[in-house]
């Protein structure tokens, strides 16, 4: 019935809080061994969706399978095969690093527990600090501890909620190396992020805004299906042109990147005509690759138009 190659296969997942639909009929297919990125503005329902996948929240509607088990009826089996790293650090701050790992290992019934915990501490480079209370760790170290803890029981699926928020670039690079190594080993990773460079490191992406899944696919597919064409406007004084460029016929959005402006539009011919008609001295206008960031900003703007339609009309 279900594709054995899919780690996650859900349809129509919905969650409401009162009259507020936080996740609206979201369907998602994630292949085994894939790194899947979840993007979207704050409050768009990413955390809520992850929580429903690992049985922390019950969906109000929808169904599906996670690792081959029924999402609604086999939450217990799913839990023991999923590693979940929460957005906010949720290990015990009054337990030491080692005690936290030991607790998790016991709870998951990890075989050969002392050795597993010891190895985990070694890999983290925390063997010397293992007696330190988890609450005393810096944000980056907490993140690493949480990731290590979610891996202790050799899960088949990793759900990581903003695993790199507030982490320095070096730690972020280490983290991504680890994620790719895990995926190469067959583990499926579903993570949420706000960083574009991280989005580009994912095999596939989904974009969620205000509960709706707006787009999904590989980074290249997302760029292609967005229908956006982009020009870069470069030169001194470019930044001052933002509002003027936004008025151009055919320009859907103008995004500044330092001294460079990305002007994108879905009607390529019209936008190109407007841009060439500008004829600004000292500015260089050239076609550019549409980036993921342009696509996501476009998606967000569009959904805001729909979402806040009433506000605009008034």
């Amino acid at each position: 019935m279900t594709d054995a190659g899919l780690a996650i296969d859900v349809e129509g997942i919905t969650k409401r809080y009162g009259s507020h639909t936080v996740v609206n009929r979201v369907g998602l297919q994630v292949r085994r061994g894939e790194i899947y990125g979840f993007l979207g503005p704050n409050g768009s329902g990413k955390t809520t969706f992850l929580r429903m996948l690992c049985g922390l929240l019950t969906p109000d509607a929808g169904s599906g399978r996670c690792l081959g088990y029924d999402l609604l009826r086999e939450a217990g089996r799913i839990k023991s095969r999923v590693g979940y790293m929460t957005q906010k650090f949720s290990h015990y701050e009054d337990l030491s690093i080692e005690e936290n790992l030991d607790f998790i290992a016991r709870v998951y019934g990890v075989a050969d527990r002392p050795a597993v915990v010891r190895r985990c501490l070694e890999q983290l480079g925390l063997t010397d600090r293992r007696k330190q209370l988890a609450g005393e760790l810096s944000g980056g170290w907490k993140q690493r501890l949480a990731l290590a803890a979610s891996l202790l029981h050799n899960p088949e699926l990793l759900l990581l909620d903003e695993p790199t928020a507030g982490v320095d670039p070096k730690a972020r690079r280490d983290f991504w190396e680890e994620v790719h190594r895990l995926a190469a080993g067959g583990i499926t990773v579903l993570l949420t992020t706000h960083y574009m460079d991280e989005a580009e490191r994912c095999h596939r992406l989904a974009y969620l805004a205000y509960g709706d899944l707006l787009a999904s696919g590989t980074p290249a597919e997302l760029v292609r299906t967005s229908g956006l064409r982009t020009w870069r406007v470069e030169g001194t004084g470019a930044a001052a042109l933002v509002s003027r460029l936004r008025q151009l016929p055919g320009a859907n959005q103008v995004v500044p990147f330092g001294n460079v402006l990305h002007v994108s539009g879905t009607d390529a011919a019209r936008l190109e005509a407007s841009l060439t008609g500008l004829n600004l001295a000292g500015l260089h206008v050239a076609p550019a690759e549409t980036g993921l960031e342009d696509v996501f900003i476009h998606l967000m703007e569009r959904s805001r138009d729909n979402f806040g339609g009433k506000e605009r009309a008034s």
């Binding site: 929580r51 922390l56 019950t58 290990h91 337990l95 998790i104 709870v107």
Partner: protein
């Protein structure tokens, strides 16, 4: 695959709770400190030998025997005789105002009737609102007064020394004729301390996990509700036993409370009572939104427990509805159990009628708690 109850997961929970308990100095201090503090505070009320109790004397007798009686009382150290002048009504007013605890009235013909061998009456009015304090002074008075007077009956008067005292001491226990003995208090304290500390501690147990955000992690693991609940109960059962032992030692060596029955039996029945309190706390913990609410709920449970269980007021003196509420509370039955075992030397057979109501309460509370324990964050 995922068994409904796994001993190793449960044990992981127990170990974790122990470590956290050890780290939480404040709570740990509370668990040992509250029994000690209460014992010391209540210790004054159950002081078996309070001295220098304020007393007033209305002495209408000019004779030597009454004077000797009064100075004998004074010298005993039990009574601090103050005032004395004034009409009987004025002196009696001192008792009303609580300025003296005793009023001793000696009739004008005391000495003369004593000499005639007529056994005159001496009236002692005692403020018995605090029977624990007055009871022993009264007992002491009876003996002391007889000795003080008998000492004077020498020579030709020695014929007046008979087996029965030469005068009659009449005692009026005012305000609280049903004297509760001190022994009620220490065993009662055991139940009160357990109720107070254990309910609050466990009421915080799950709310704290939720407030600190660790609940999200806990729920994502294969831990089952029963494993979490029991894992949180078991460490505190040990705490309860430490508290019981503290109080027993104090009862025996500080306050000379007789320990007639089997301590083994006491420890055994306490298990059910401790577990019942912990289950109440855990249930509150699943209902409360935050730690403050949890503490408030614990307090609302504590109040009727202390007021309607027979700890504060004699159970039989309460109106029917209050007795009805009291019968539901574990503390009520535990007080009967402890008093029965310690003071009357009751055995298992006598304990059973009070044990099953606590067991029933425990079962219901656990069921409610388990039902209310949310397996999800919804």
């Amino acid at each position: 695959m995922t068994s409904p109850f796994s001993l190793s997961r449960f044990w992981a929970m127990v170990l974790k709770e122990f470590v956290q308990m050890r780290r939480d100095r404040l709570t740990f201090g509370m668990m040992v400190g509250i029994p000690l503090l209460q014992l010391i505070l209540f210790g004054f009320a159950i002081n078996s030998d309070p001295k220098h109790l304020p007393a007033a004397v209305v002495n209408a007798d000019p004779g030597p025997f009454s004077r000797n009686l009064v100075s004998g009382l004074q010298n005993s150290g039990y009574f601090d005789i103050r005032g004395g002048g004034g009409t009987p009504a004025q002196v009696r007013r001192l008792l009303d105002l609580g300025q003296v605890q005793f009023v001793l009235s000696i009739p004008s013909d005391f000495s003369s009737r004593l000499l005639r061998g007529e056994r005159p009456e001496v009236l002692l009015e005692a403020d018995a609102t605090d029977p624990a304090a007055t009871g022993n002074a009264i007992a002491a008075l009876q003996q002391l007064a007889e000795i003080a007077v008998a000492r004077d009956l020498t020579g030709p008067l020695s014929r007046l020394r008979r087996d029965e005292p030469p005068f009659e001491l009449r005692i009026h226990r005012c305000y609280n004729p049903e004297a509760v003995t001190q022994y009620n208090i220490v065993p009662g304290l055991m139940g009160v301390v357990l109720t107070m500390t254990l309910v609050i501690i466990t009421a915080l147990a799950i709310t704290r996990e939720r407030e600190r955000g660790t609940m999200e992690n806990l729920l994502a693991t294969p831990l089952r509700p029963a494993e979490v609940m029991l894992g949180k109960i078991v460490p505190y059962i040990l705490v309860g036993y430490v508290q019981i032992s503290l109080i027993l030692v104090a009862a025996r060596y500080l306050f000379d409370v007789p320990l007639l029955g089997s301590l083994m039996l006491l420890y055994a029945v306490s298990l059910v009572f401790i577990a019942a309190n912990l289950a109440v706390g855990l249930t509150f913990s699943t209902l409360a939104r935050n730690q403050l609410q949890a503490v408030q709920m614990a307090f609302f449970f504590f109040l009727p427990s202390i007021l309607l269980s027979g700890f504060m007021f004699p159970f039989r003196g309460m109106p029917g509805w209050a007795q009805g509420v009291g019968e539901v509370l574990p503390l009520t039955h535990f007080l009967r159990l402890v008093r029965g075992i310690l003071l009357k030397g009751n055995g298992p057979a006598e304990c059973l009628p009070h044990l099953w109501p606590i067991t029933l309460f425990l079962a219901v509370m656990l069921a409610v708690g388990l039902k209310r324990y949310r397996k999800t964050l919804d």
